[in-house]
Amino acid sequence: MTELILQTVVNAVYAASYMSLIAVGLVLIFGVMGVINFAHGELYMAGAYTVVALYSQVGVPFFVTVVAGLIFVGLLGLLMEQSFFKPLRDNPLGGLIASIGFLLILQTSAVLGFGVRMAHIRPPTQAKFELIEGVVLTHQRLFVIIAAIVLLSLLHLFLRKTKFGWAMRACAQDREAAALQGISLSQISRIAMFIGAGLAGVAGALTAPLVSPTPYMGHSVIVTAFIIIIVGGIGQLEGAVVAAVLYAFVHTFVTTFYDGVVADITGLLLMLLVLVIKPTGLFGTKERA
């Protein structure tokens, strides 16, 4: 029993790591640009298929493909920003709809390029740690956990210590006031979009060998990401991380001890409860959007 609980804790930490990478990207994009990126799950999918294309089919080393995934998906984010988020700056509902259009394009591209079936990827390493008797952490999962900690720390430093980070936080607080201070909204939006999309891409690339990518894998991810950003408070980066950990633990434990569907229901009820009691989320301070 102790092993089962410890193993579930390990699983939950892994789930929290990649979910917080995705959710933080989504929150960053919403915070700076005020638009919900519905295609975020598909950006994650695009990251996973970068690994399918480069690592499985061409044979590029795994970690190079992860970096390639970050850059490629980041560029996809830039493309989204330039082609529709920027022209639709004053029309958040329009931006949402356009991102749904982009979601369909990405999904279909994956179907046309790689087929509908699951793509199996041979993991780069089969090695694993046995923490104690019966509790296992594979290296592949450890990579995800380390990547999440490193990247989110870097993001934190970037937002707190650099000029661009300050400007980005200013935009998230009040766009007009930030523009009046001489901050270029377009430039900051481009950076936010690149980072937000890139984080989803890294999460997709690193988890690809563990989840067997399909073109429709983004759907469940975006649902989970929505729950996390609501529970954490929309536009709250730290809140998103805490909510990701909370959600991952609740979901993993309920899945292990009851059933996957019950876990989904629990997660949604958790979110509804937060919405009814404190609509701004656990860490939200003021009404936004």
Partner: protein
């Protein structure tokens, strides 16, 4: 009929449209007739969605509410043996009832939070269908739902005949929806949308009116679900997932929601384009991609929806002074 002074051209146009709708199944192939039936059902769905948006709240749970109507109607007729026409109405009423219960948590939220809250509530309902094998059939859903009973020698199993049934039901529903919008209640919905604080200050209970809009919209969404369930004969939780909801949202936004006919234009144009034109051009797997591209282009270049083109088109045709919007509506109610 209101606005009888509407000029003779709009009456003529309405008459042509009615004749066109009645003749339509005769000129279509079998599979196209099936699409026509689903299209008519979707017209009701998206029109009921518009009633919901009149109060300014955008829901992401509308398709699940449609599913409540479908599941309830199917269960009433299948497990309890209630005649299908009655169970359809009971299904619609169940959808309205579920909406009434959901109003209490959901209308504590507004705007974006309502959007996400309605989505969560819908997903919970959907997962309950998925989890409980009895009575909801679990992930595989309900099968062998009884069809609409034959009247004499008329079999509603034929898409052609079912088309006329749907046309009748939807036409009556649209007429009711239209009358609701033009009534005092509908005007109050508009008032709540644009100035909810002001409406409250003159004694309008905004919660009750929001709830009323939600319940009425859900009733008609449930009715469309019941029409769907007894036509297809099988329903499952995946049929009512968020992707279907996204399509309703797309129809409404691409069509435009300012006028009564905007969402209807949206669903008709996009469905015809998607199912008929793109299919006949031979794109099959690439269809969603083209659909997505058209979506982005339409949001970028036609932000007010397809409905904003109607006054222009009418200007070209008649060459006379336009009476923006008003004239086209009565023909939807034969």
């Amino acid at each position: 009929m209101p606005r009888a002074k509407a000029n003779i051209w709009s009456w003529l146009l309405g008459f042509c449209l009615l004749v066109g709708l009645l003749v339509l199944p005769q000129v279509l192939s079998y599979s196209q007739r099936e699409i026509a039936v689903l299209l008519i059902i979707n017209v009701l769905l998206v029109s009921s969605y518009r009633l919901m948006t009149l109060t300014g709240e955008w829901s992401l749970g509308h398709v699940v509410i449609m599913g409540v109507g479908a599941y309830a109607s199917a269960l009433f007729s299948k497990r309890l043996g209630i005649p299908v026409p009655i169970s359809m109405l009971l299904g619609a009423a169940s959808a309205g009832g579920v909406a009434a219960i959901l109003s209490f948590p959901l209308f504590r939220m507004k705007g974006f939070y309502f959007l996400i809250g309605s989505f969560a509530a819908g997903e919970v309902i959907r997962l309950i269908w998925k989890y409980f094998t009895y009575p909801f059939g679990g992930p595989k859903g309900l099968k062998l739902i009884p069809g609409f009973p034959d009247i004499g020698s008329i079999s509603f199993f034929e898409p052609e005949i079912y088309y006329y049934l749907c046309l009748f039901v939807v036409a009556v529903s649209l007429f009711v929806l239209y009358r609701i919008e033009r009534s005092r209640i509908g005007l109050t919905f508009h008032a709540i949308h644009w100035q909810d604080k002001l409406a409250e200050s003159v004694g309008v209970d905004t919660f009750r009116y929001r709830m009323l809009a939600f319940v009425l919209a859900s009733f008609f969404a449930g009715l469309s679900g019941a029409l769907y369930a007894h036509y297809i004969g099988t329903i499952n939780p995946t049929r009512f997932d968020v992707e279907e909801m996204v399509f309703v949202l797309i129809w409404a936004i691409v069509g435009g929601t300012v006028t009564f006919y905007g969402p209807i234009i949206g669903v008709v144009v996009l469905t015809v384009m998607n199912e008929v034109i793109l299919r006949s051009l031979g794109f099959d797997t690439a269809r969603p991609m083209i659909y997505g591209g058209i979506l982005i282009v339409s949001v970028l270049f036609l932000p007010d929806g397809l409905e904003s083109l109607i006054p222009k088109v009418k200007g070209w045709f008649s060459g006379r002074v336009k009476k923006t919007g008003e004239v086209l509506e009565p023909e939807k109610s034969p």
